[in-house]
């Protein structure tokens, strides 16, 4: 690599960083707007048109806010923890394909790279939690570590299932398909242009979505920064720029998980293919990439909105339930998924077998989980005692009869 290339690379990567920062800002805006919409309120609307400048103002404020290090804190680790969380979150983006051959780097081991790099963030959270020297952050850091660690496994296994399906660790192959030779004959492995993996591996999608939510620490898995319990968890003591970096990392991860869901299960930039009738089929590769990138972004944002929507609806789990869910449901299920897909490929069954087997399993597990966890609500243990029926209190005076009629009338 020549010097010039390095300079270009640095410039380009800075560009990427800026782009991602903007994406993060837009994501925070979108989250607030989505939640506001759900909650029948306006959301940010005063700062800039439709509140679009709100994230910018927030960012500027955070950058110019005092950045303090608490007493008793382990200063170095405290200072470094956000970096440990944010830098891997950024480095993941090297491998994300935005279009045909359009990634910062097309890595042959892309999937492994993703898995390996994203694992480092845990340490950052634990570090931040420990270094803050506050009980809440300690609790939060430990919770974060236990949680992220547990939900990392299903993610890894689902990614492995995808790798099995395309027989490659390259993200390009995930989207574009792959051809391998087995003995004498060659076999085409599916890419997502035709049929997104979501239809082949619905189980994988579900596991990935749930585990992804948990990796992000978003409701219903936000126990590590649960405001009502640990007041922000590992971030309690962080202020100003350091906190902003944590925040950035969190949203970068949200973005990455949304993008991964799109890339792994919804064909990334390639599905549904841009209607050729509209553009003709001799598009320049730039145009294809542009459209593909736009597609990817649109889908990613849609997934992100879905994540925000879930955030707006669900209460959070408790730590034991969370861990039990990971280890007793998600991990076994993800292994089942992996073995299933491997079997399907090994015996050369058609791929719809996978779908056909997955759906009943999902249903069965869903029902089993419900059964165990108090299915449809729980037995109603509350009953209503009425004075008119003499079940409670001193007996009603006889004069009450007309009133009862009115109850019936009033509904």
């Amino acid at each position: 690599m020549s010097f010039i290339e390095v300079v270009f690379a640095i410039a380009g990567l800075f560009g990427l960083f800026t782009g991602l920062a903007v994406a993060v800002l837009s994501l925070t805006w979108m989250e607030r707007k989505t939640l506001a919409r759900i909650q029948q309120r306006a959301g940010p609307s005063v700062v800039g048109p439709h509140g679009l400048l709100q994230p910018v103002a927030d960012a500027m404020k955070l950058a110019t806010k005092e950045d303090m290090i608490p007493n008793y804190a382990d200063k170095l680790l405290f200072w470094m923890a956000p970096i440990f969380v944010a830098v891997p979150a950024f480095m993941i983006w090297i491998a994300i394909p935005f279009g045909d051959n359009l990634a910062v780097r097309v890595l042959d081991l892309g999937l492994l790279y993703l898995v390996a790099i994203s694992g480092i963030g845990v340490v950052g959270l634990l570090m931040g939690g420990w270094a803050s020297s506050s009980r809440y952050s300690m609790l939060g850091g430990l919770r974060a570590a236990a949680q992220l660690v547990s939900y990392e496994i299903p993610i890894v296994i689902v990614i492995l299932s995808i790798a099995v399906l395309v027989q490659s660790l390259s993200l390009d192959a995930v989207i574009g398909g792959n051809t391998i030779s087995i003995g004498d004959d060659t076999r085409d492995l599916p890419g997502q242009g035709a049929i997104p993996f979501a239809f082949i591996m619905p189980m994988g999608l579900l596991i990935f979505l749930i585990a992804g939510l948990a990796e992000l620490g978003r409701t219903p898995f936000d126990i590590h920064h649960a405001e009502s319990e640990v007041v922000g968890g590992p971030f309690v003591e962080y202020s100003g720029a350091h906190w902003a970096v944590f925040f950035l990392a969190e949203y970068l991860n949200t973005f990455v998980i949304s993008a991964l869901i799109v890339i792994l299960f919804f064909g990334g930039w390639s599905w549904p293919a841009p209607p050729e009738s509209l553009f003709g089929n001799d598009l320049s590769s730039t145009a294809t990439n542009l459209i593909g990138g736009a597609w990817l972004m649109i889908k990613t944002y849609l997934v992100a909105i879905g994540i925000f929507w879930i955030r707006g609806t669900y209460p959070r789990l408790r730590i034991d339930q969370l861990m039990a869910f990971a280890w007793q449901v998600l991990i076994p299920l993800s292994f089942v998924n992996l073995v299933l897909i491997a079997i399907v490929l090994f015996y050369d069954w058609p791929l719809w077998v996978m779908t056909a087997v997955s759906l009943p399993i999902i249903l069965g597990v869903g029902i089993a989980v419900q059964r165990r966890r108090g299915a449809r609500g729980r037995p109603q243990t509350v009953r209503i005692l009425r004075r008119s029926a003499g079940e409670i209190g001193v007996p009603m005076p006889p004069a009450s009869t007309p009133v009862t009629d009115q109850v019936q009338a009033g509904g």
Binding site: M1, A9, I10, F14, L16, F17, A63, T64, K65, E66, D67, I69, P70, N71, A73, D74, P82, I83, A86, V87, M91, I94, V104, V115, G119, W130, S132, S133, S134, R135, Y136, M138, L142, A146, V149, S150, I153, V156, I157, L160, A163, Q167, S168, I182, V231, V236, E237, A241, H242, V245, D320, M323, W327, Q328, P332, F335, L338, V339, A342, F346
Partner: protein, 122 residues
């Protein structure tokens, strides 16, 4: 050294550097622009308004460790799975069954842990 290898990793290294640098710039900007007048008292760790005693260690619960360890084991397993995932179709059939046995053994471990209640928090 094979084609693209050095480039890939140089870029990745640069990406790490750029990430660091960008965050460093943010920190620097904050250092320069942000006011600093925190009192000694203000730097007491937050404890809901009560003056916290110094605190850095907590003896955590053993359960954390069990989960961490199980994660470690499964991570190592994933390291084996990654090469397997991309070759088992091309390789001999034995490779496929080998991995099934391997997974079977580890699943046995998981079931054992489950039975032992190690996967329950309580």
């Amino acid at each position: 050294m094979p084609e693209g290898f050095a480039d890939n990793w140089t870029i990745i290294a640069i990406a790490g550097g750029v990430g660091l640098l960008a965050i460093g710039i943010l920190f620097l900007a904050s250092y320069l622009l942000a006011p600093k007048r925190q009192s000694e008292r203000g730097r007491i760790p937050y404890e809901c308004g009560i003056e916290a005693s110094p605190f850095s260690w907590s003896r955590t619960n053993i359960r954390y460790y069990v989960f961490g360890l199980a994660f470690l084991i499964f991570d190592v397993e994933a390291v084996f799975l990654f090469p397997w995932a991309v070759i088992f179709l091309e390789a001999a059939a034995a490779v496929f069954y080998e991995m099934i046995v391997f997974l079977g053994i580890l699943m046995f471990g998981l079931t054992y842990a489950w039975r032992k209640g190690a996967l329950n928090w309580r």
